[in-house]
Symmetry: C2
Subunit: 342 residues, 2 copies
DNA sequence: CTGAAAGCGCTTACAG
DNA sequence: CTGAAAGCGCTTACAG
């Protein structure tokens, strides 16, 4: 029951530990028959290299990981950073340095940051990428240099990263529709307020929503408006919808501007008849949930996205083993009043 | 920016690495002035011992962790085991052996298993304990021997373990009430079907439920029945409730026997008017959610409870640092049709 | 194609 | 009270 070590394998095969290492990691310079013999013993004893030993020897390479997080006033990004920072401490104690930069949502800025990382000699990159051609090219350059990339939250076309850690926004949209069905007995006229029509994460949520209500004949979308993720604009378009469509009894708030929408809603005396489902819980959202204006919020898991991204990369750098899945979708969290703080 | 090592500290303090180690870990045998000098440098350079080095040296001690999971036909326990097993593999690769036993829910059986673990020389224990005196005494014996204990899912009185990882059942109950409020517009006569009146996890859920509806005057509990977590008994009591109280339009299924309750419900022609919220998603539960009999399920996170329990213990055994919190509550997951598989 | 040796950072007897 | 040495399991030059 005691641990099997490479020394045990070497002794049994009648070779040195160096040869075991070469055979196991395909470094060449091992006679085929020797290699087969070693692999057979490894398999029989179910030998797994001790990770502490592996990591320790990696100290000599001074492994660094670069990490790029969008720099913008969005609490989601701050949470993502919080997840990353949890791991930064941990990895430092493994002797692996994670260098974090916040960079604006422009491919030029991101490319420059990557170039800086390259001069620092990073062994891997975690990034929330802009989906633009120059950045995709830069990432391909990393790929060609054998530097693994994990994308977080958003990803780029024309490139399969080592792993993408993100949200299944389509299912988020379906879940929003499901909740409004529960809240209205499946009988509702819905106003949708989205952020940007051309933001894929927003349009995916709406597509999922539409997919769900295809099977619920009494749920109808009355109006879709864009608020540019802005509270004031959100206030304006919400008032507009509710004034022009007095039958609207459900609101689906797809993106930012939740506070503006709720405050517009409250200017109507009969606002309690309108059920509201939104995304994410900002501090202002919390108040609207507690006072019953919003019935449910669907939450992403930015902290877990941050930690997971680094974990995937870490494992790859130590083991050189690809993750089992190319995509990792974080859980969908439904928050209502009762479990808001849980 | 390169890593600070104990060698660096030793050089700067003009002592050996052994002395640094003794000073840092309070092993005595260090002159007070030397110790202060070392600690000052450690603080200034923010030195953190490299964990890979620490773990590697721990191989010599052949650290073993014992783990006791209830042996009973409950998918929850199987999931818990799945979480544990994920970590077992990982820790094996750190050279730490986790010995898992499934034991019946009796304090005698659990005590015997612990005794066996002791002869094997475990350094820590993870357990789903029976809350009975002999077991509590046995755990105290471990405590006195300096062997840390983490309790999972259930805990024992008269003893504060290193950490308890479990569910906040009270909030679970509140959340169930919140969901039924959403489903019925806050206007409902509720049938509650619980497992055992004397099971604390069941009664806590009901208490949370009652707490929530104290503020919703139109939500009324019509009847509470016990099904002993048994599907056939569940079928019987559910039929009884629905026959005797034709006004019941909401069911709160507190524990096991979900399938029996749903099948009883479906024997009534107007069963669609009854909204149902339950706990946990068994394979049979899934079908009732998909066909719209159950509107929402509140889920525990057994897999995460398993992994978390071992993580807490692992960190303590390596670092000798107590966890920040004595309790770790896993998230409350709400599952509806749309996010059932997500 | 193979082995002996060094070294990653830490802790642990042991000698003084 | 302190230091020198050994060793945890692994990988990496280097010598042959």
């Amino acid at each position: 029951m005691a641990m099997v070590t490479s020394k045990n394998i070497a002794d049994m095969a009648g070779v040195s530990r160096g040869t075991v290492d070469r055979a196991l990691n395909n470094r060449g310079n091992v006679k085929e028959t020797t290699k087969q013999k070693i692999l057979e013993i490894v398999k029989r004893l179910d030998y797994k290299p001790n990770k502490a030993g592996q990591i320790l020897v990696n100290q000599q390479k001074n492994i660094k990981i670069g990490c790029i997080i969008i720099d913008a006033a969005n609490p989601y990004y701050d949470e993502l950073l919080r997840g990353i920072n949890q791991k930064v401490e941990e990895y430092l104690s493994w002797g692996i340095e994670v260098i974090v930069r916040r960079v604006t949502f422009e491919s030029k800025a991101q490319c420059e940051c990557i170039d800086e990382f390259l001069t620092m000699g990073i062994s891997g990159l975690v990034i929330q990428p802009v989906n633009e051609v120059p950045l995709a090219q830069k990432l391909r350059q990393l790929f060609d240099a054998g530097i693994p990339v994990v994308t977080m939250n958003t990803t780029v076309n024309d490139l399969t990263p080592l792993c993408h850690v993100g949200n299944d926004f389509f299912t988020y949209g379906k879940t929003a529709a499901n909740l409004l069905e529960m809240l209205t007995g499946g009988n509702c006229h819905i106003g949708i307020i989205t952020g940007f029509h051309n933001a894929q994460s927003h349009s995916d949520r709406i597509k999922g929503f539409q997919e769900y209500i295809r099977d619920t004949p009494k749920m109808k979308i009355t109006s879709i408006e864009e608020n540019l993720d802005d509270d004031i604009e959100s206030f304006r378009v919400t008032q507009k919808i509710l004034q022009n469509h007095r039958d609207v009894n459900a609101l689906f708030l797809v993106a930012g501007g939740v506070d503006g929408a709720c405050r517009a809603l409250k200017t109507f005396s009969d606002y309690r008849k309108v059920k509201v489902v939104c995304f994410d819980v900002l501090p202002s959202t919390k108040l609207h949930i507690l006072d019953g204006t919003i019935q449910a919020a669907i939450c992403q898991q930015p902290v877990i996205q941050g930690t997971t991204s680094l974990e995937v990369l870490f494992k790859y750098l130590i083991d050189k083993k690809e993750p089992l899945e190319r995509h990792f979708w974080t859980n969908i969290q439904i928050k209502v009043r009762a479990n808001l703080e849980a």
